[in-house]
């Protein structure tokens, strides 16, 4: 701007500004992705943890420090026999995976002559008494000449113990000795798929799953039916008091469900519906929100379409199902996904109305809550149950993501 008199400077400035802008852009994008990935990790980690824990053994879920992948102690076959694999320190070679070839080898715990804290457990076979003694921390101990691998060292025998002999699978000449109790087992990643079978067989969990599917189908279908007919009446059929009733409907969306729990439960008691799946279905197929959603969509459909059909003598019922419904798939799918999640995940109402001990009436949320509240089952089985309970919503979400997002977008903004 200032340097019209010195053109090269301007060019240089512009180039520098351009470069600075690119750098800023890269930093900005990098920062944006860093934040997004950070949050994505926080959102995904619990689910990753869920899947991994569902495939663990019960002991593995209580491991500390925690490890994400399911592991089990490794075993191998040597000469037709099952042997346990350990991760043991071999002098000169570091940590190596060896199998336990022999247990209870007579051994001594040897300490360094100048340091009683540094000890090694080694077979007495590989040590010979030198006849000398040494005094460590006020105790007189015999000194042995111990053959550690290739070298021989003089060490003090603290006490007798037993060790295991560990041998490499591929090379029998590689062997070492260690106390079995403190040796670390070698582990292999080993998903426990049978956890899913176990949880399905446990206390009618399969029944809970199918009950949930059934309830969800009926709630979604019933809500769609009542919302479509109601929405059509509120948008297209003129009758006395229509708009006042509609305002009451919208107002009712604001009323929290907790106000209804007690009277609805009393109603279930007097109808004899407590502890039945019906109590989870019938009260929930009449939905003000759904009616509102369908009405808003029907209002936007041009009137010409139905007028032509009217002239042809079609009845309203037929017009609704042959003209309005096919045009309203986006709204119907949006409502269906909303009701699907609502029915699948609802907790407080089933907790109240399915309060019996009969697990044949359970839905997934109640089955999960019951499982989670019991110390008896290992966490691995609980996690397997959680996986089964989220797998269908996640699949539906992947297939119909658009409508989920649409539902959120339309639920309040327009």
């Amino acid at each position: 701007m200032t340097a019209t008199s010195t053109p090269p400077n301007v060019e240089e400035q512009a180039r520098r500004a351009h470069r600075a802008k690119i750098i800023r852009n890269i930093i900005g994008r990098g920062g944006a992705y860093a934040v997004l990935i950070g949050f994505a990790t926080a959102m995904l980690f619990p689910f990753l943890f869920m899947v991994a824990s569902a495939l663990k053994t019960p002991e593995d879920t209580f491991r500390y420090p925690p490890k994400i992948f399911p592991r089990t102690p490794a075993t191998a076959q040597v000469d037709g026999a099952d042997v346990e694999l350990y991760s043991v320190e071999v002098p000169g070679e570091g940590l190596t995976t060896l199998y336990l070839a022999e247990q209870g080898v007579q051994a001594g715990l040897f300490a360094q002559l100048d340091d009683v804290e540094t000890t090694v457990a080694w077979p007495l076979q590989l040590a010979s008494d030198t006849g000398q003694t040494t005094t460590l921390e006020g105790e007189t101990l015999p000194v042995y000449s111990v053959q550690l691998g290739t070298e021989t060292v003089d060490l003090a025998l603290v006490r007798n113990t037993a060790v295991g002999r560990f041998v490499a699978q591929d090379d029998p000449s590689v062997e070492t000795f260690a106390v079995v109790r403190t040796a670390e087992r070698a582990e292999s990643i080993d998903p426990q798929w049978q956890n899913f079978n176990e949880i399905i067989e446990l206390r009618d969990f399969d029944r809970s799953l199918t009950n949930t599917i059934l309830v969800t189908i009926l709630v979604v279908g019933g809500t769609l039916f009542t919302s479509i007919t109601g929405g059509y009446a509120f948008s297209r059929v003129r009758f006395a008091g229509r708009d006042k009733i509609f305002v009451a409907y919208i107002g009712s969306i604001m009323i929290p469900f907790v106000v209804l729990i007690i009277p609805l439960f009393r109603l279930m008691v007097s109808l004899g519906w407590v502890n039945t799946l019906g109590s989870l279905v019938w009260p929930f197929v009449f939905n003000a929100y759904g009616t509102f959603l369908m009405r808003q969509f029907f209002v936007s459909i041009p009137k010409d379409l139905e007028e032509a059909a009217f002239i042809d003598g079609a009845k309203r019922w037929k017009i609704l199902w042959t003209i309005f419904v096919p045009l309203s798939w986006p709204a119907i799918a949006t409502l269906a996904t909303f009701m699907f999640l609502y029915a699948w995940n609802s907790f407080i109402w089933p907790l109240v109305s399915i309060n019996g001990a009969n697990s044949e009436d359970f839905v997934l949320t109640i089955a999960l809550q019951t499982l989670g509240g019991q110390a008896g089952e290992g966490p691995n089985l609980i996690f397997a149950a959680i996986v089964l309970s989220v797998i269908i919503p996640f699949t539906v979400f992947v297939l119909a993501q658009r409508y989920f997002v649409e539902n959120v977008a339309t639920s309040g903004i327009k």
Binding site: L36, P256, V258, V259, T276, L341, I386
Partner: protein, 519 residues
């Protein structure tokens, strides 16, 4: 019907064959309504002797009056007769049908279906597959008619096998046997008769006979279309709501008779330490959780709204916690919160070690008892709530941002605004209605907090260590379903409702004219 259409339209004296039966039926229904009214007046001790009985009496008085007038109007052949008769018959069919089916325990037949469903759920998969394939065959560039036919027949076949394997035939037999065994046959016949007369009154022939105009016909259409929704709405929403209000004025244990205590429960609430504690907990919870569930969501949405690649993936990932059910995710977090083997304390430990190794400090890693420490239990609920809510709020904000006029940003670009200025001066002000909505829904959810503390603390009481996770809904639940203080619990429910209503009103007042309720 056939006689009506066959008769010359001008002959007003000519009446169709169903007219006399209809008149008799009108008389019978009017008589039945009177009997029902007398029955209710004489008999006492119906469930909750107060409001339900009076509502019933009021409804029956209206019905008797309507029934009497309907007889008169039907004889005069005016539209009011058709309308009143149709309404009465429709409602009678619904009520009698409902009572008959409920006596036969048919509404609980779902559980039997559930049992059979287990073995035949695979067929449902075939139905869904057929539906999906027929949908796809219809869509592509060239619609594949053959494939669509095959898919459709697969679907129909699957449905047939599904219903048969779920026991359609034994079910029908069971239905028939219960119809006889449970003495509901008279009720069922009345229901069917009422339904049949409603159908006759609905017909074009009846419209002609009673001289119904087009707009009167439209009103009947409207009533019929709204009916399924409206009846359910009254029975399962509006009715219970009013009953709940009444219960809150009574002392009731759910078994013995309720006694009216007026506003006593509401007065007691103010001096109930536990209720006040639950309010305090929920206010602390909201004050921390709501900003933390909303502000990061706004920033994330702003990042997602940039046209960088991969944003759809991130949006989907953020949405996952709100799809997985609250029970499942809470159980996952319960394990993460585990104080000895949980990942959260492990991460805290590792971060502290890392910090110490960099700065040479000797800070000892805190290893809190997330769930059982009374000063921390509420914080763990807050963490869980934020984790669940952030993604949902992000998607809400994102939807709002995509509705902002793009030319505003273009104009700002010309003026040389940087991204922060654009965010601060365009996005935030334009997003005000969305922000109000997001904050309001998050607040409403927070005030109804129940699931998270209930599941996290289970099998301990949901009120948590030292009542630290006692929320109003938890308190309501404990009162209603563990202490059987149903009247008092209803008062808690209404107090909470008033609180929620007040907060919502406040938000939308401040949100200006573009609130949700302007339709």
């Amino acid at each position: 019907m056939t006689t009506a259409t066959a008769a010359p339209p001008s002959a007003s004296t000519d009446q169709p064959g169903w007219f006399v039966p209809l008149l008799l039926w009108r008389g019978l229904t009017a008589f039945l309504l009177v009997v029902a009214l007398i029955g209710v007046l004489v008999r006492r001790g119906i469930v909750l002797d107060g409001p339900i009985r009076w509502t019933l009496i009021a409804a029956l008085v209206a019905a008797v009056a309507g029934g009497g007038l309907a007889v008169r109007w039907t004889m005069q052949r005016v539209h009011s007769g058709r309308l009143a008769g149709f309404t009465i018959d429709f409602l009678l069919a619904v009520v009698f049908g409902f009572v008959a089916l409920n006596r036969m325990d048919m509404f609980n037949g779902l559980d039997a279906v559930g049992e059979a469903f287990n073995g035949s759920v695979a067929w449902l998969g075939i139905v869904v597959l057929g539906w999906l394939v027929s949908g796809f065959a219809d869509r592509g560039e060239q619609a594949n008619a053959n494939l669509k036919q095959v898919a459709r027949w697969t679907m129909i076949g699957g449905l047939a096998v599904l219903t048969l394997s779920m026991g359609l035939l034994p079910g029908l037999l069971e239905f028939a046997s219960r119809l006889v065994a449970t003495n509901v046959l008279p009720l069922a016949i009345l229901a069917i008769a009422a339904g049949a007369f409603a159908r006759i009154l609905w017909s074009d022939g009846a419209a002609k006979l009673f001289g119904t105009t087009q707009s009167q016909g439209e009103t009947m259409d409207g009533m019929l279309f709204v009916a399924p929704n409206m009846l359910g709405f009254l029975a399962f929403f509006a009715g219970p709501l009013l009953v709940s209000l009444f219960i809150s004025f009574t002392e009731w244990d759910g078994l013995t008779d309720a006694t009216f205590v007026g506003f006593q429960h509401y007065i007691d609430l103010f001096s109930d330490d536990l209720f006040l504690r639950s309010l305090r907990n929920i206010v602390v919870f909201g004050a921390v959780a709501i900003p933390l569930a909303v502000i990061p969501a706004l920033l994330l949405a702003a990042l997602l709204n940039s046209k960088l690649p991969g944003m759809k993936f991130f949006r989907a990932v953020y949405f996952l916690p709100s799809i997985a059910g609250v029970v499942g995710v809470t159980l996952i977090w319960k394990q993460l919160f585990n104080s000895t083997v949980g990942y959260l304390n492990f991460i805290v430990l590792k971060l502290t070690e890392w910090f110490n190794s960099i700065f040479g400090s000797g800070i000892e890693a805190p290893q809190p008892q997330w769930i059982s420490d009374d000063s921390i239990a509420l914080i763990s609920v807050i963490i869980l709530f934020i984790w669940q809510q952030i993604g949902f709020n992000t998607v809400l904000f994102l939807a709002g941002m995509q509705g902002i006029d793009g030319t505003l940003y273009e104009a700002a670009d010309i003026d040389g605004a940087n991204p922060w200025h654009k965010f601060r001066n365009i996005t935030v002000p334009m997003l005000r209605p969305t922000t109000v909505f997001v904050v309001a829904t998050t607040t409403i959810l927070a005030l109804q907090l129940f699931n998270e503390p209930f599941i996290l603390q289970s099998p301990s009481p949901p009120s948590g260590p030292g009542n630290s996770t006692l929320t109003p809904v938890v308190y309501l639940y404990q009162n209603a379903f563990q202490e059987f203080q149903i009247g008092y619990a209803s008062a808690v429910a209404w107090a909470l409702f008033i609180l929620i209503f007040g907060v919502t009103l406040l938000y939308f007042r401040r949100g200006g004219d573009e609130g949700v309720l302007s339709t």
